[in-house]
């Protein structure tokens, strides 16, 4: 894992692998980039220290760190309605797929934006057989 495995090539944005559902209820896998911008004092609610670069900031609902047992797999599922998940893979590797055939691997040091709170949903499988650990932050689906 490289130190900047979560950044794009020129280091200007965080790259997150993404699950999302389109207007007709079909779920897909893709990529989203969160571009870095200077954090200033203009936002009174920010938790980013001044002088830093903010890649992503949002209201949140809850958080947890979850360590899945080796061999874990899910059926197609959606996450709680009205919530998206910002996820960071701490350890291990998961294979995530949608019914349309799109898929991705989420490796240690990478972000995911889980946005399919409705629709066909996605599967997640322990890709190494050793278990994996993720930090999840639930955010309101409408920002």
């Amino acid at each position: 894992m490289s130190k900047s495995s979560f950044l794009n090539k020129d280091g200007t944005a965080v790259v997150a692998k993404r699950t999302f559902t389109d207007a007709v209820g079909k779920t897909h896998c893709g990529i989203v980039e969160w571009t870095g911008k200077p954090a200033g004092p203009s936002d009174p609610d920010t938790i980013v220290p001044p002088g830093c670069t903010r890649y992503y900031e949002a209201k949140a609902v809850s958080m947890l760190i979850r360590r899945f047992i080796p061999g874990m797999k899910t059926d197609y599922h959606t996450d709680p309605a009205g919530e998206h998940q910002v996820a960071f893979m701490i350890d291990g590797e998961a294979a995530v797929g949608a019914k349309d055939g799109t898929h991705f691997r989420l490796r240690a040091g990478e972000f995911a934006s889980v946005e399919d709170d409705h629709g066909e949903g996605h599967t997640a499988v322990d890709a190494t057989g050793k278990g994996f650990t993720q930090l999840f932050v639930a955010v309101p689906a409408l920002g």
Partner: protein, 157 residues
């Protein structure tokens, strides 16, 4: 959501052509991002920044046990309600005094920072460190030579 132990991959759909090679990571170096997790998975280590009744800040490493969870297929840590989340990077040489308005978690994902209290030599927090800040716990944050990147969550309980 139905979660079960994997017994075979067949039937998971064409999307999951994931003929993973078990043990593929075994030859790699230990992942520093996971160094805060105890070997048996029962606890994680965190650097806790607290404030006593006299308003003095204390910084100490602590073990955080897994939460009580009814689910046998995973263990959970630091389950909290939250009010805000940010992903950010601090540049090298960044020094700041912080008085968190609410309880916060900082999980360092790259680089390093040193967290200092008034009468404290400082705790270096490298990638893979979890830092728990108590509301009002005044402290200094000094970035390391490469700066640091982190996920910060404002906790609501």
């Amino acid at each position: 959501m139905k979660i079960e132990r994997r017994t075979l991959l067949a039937g998971s759909g064409a999307a999951l052509a994931i003929a993973a090679a078990p043990g593929a990571l075994a030859a790699k170096d230990p992942n520093p991002l996971a160094a805060f997790i105890a070997a048996d998975g029962s606890a994680i280590k965190a650097v806790k920044v607290t404030m006593d009744d006299e308003g003095e800040t204390h910084i100490a490493e602590t073990d955080v046990a897994a939460d009580n969870s009814p689910y046998p297929l995973f263990k959970q840590f630091l389950t909290h309600k939250a009010s805000r989340v940010a992903i950010y990077a601090a540049p090298p040489g960044h020094k700041i005094t912080v008085i968190p308005a609410a309880k916060q978690l900082i999980y360092v994902i790259a680089g390093s920072l040193t967290v200092k209290g008034k009468n404290d030599a400082g705790h270096e927090c490298v990638a893979g460190s979890a830092i728990l800040l108590e509301a009002g716990a005044r402290h200094r944050e000094h970035t390391g030579p490469d700066g640091y990147s982190a996920i910060k969550v404002a906790l609501a309980d």
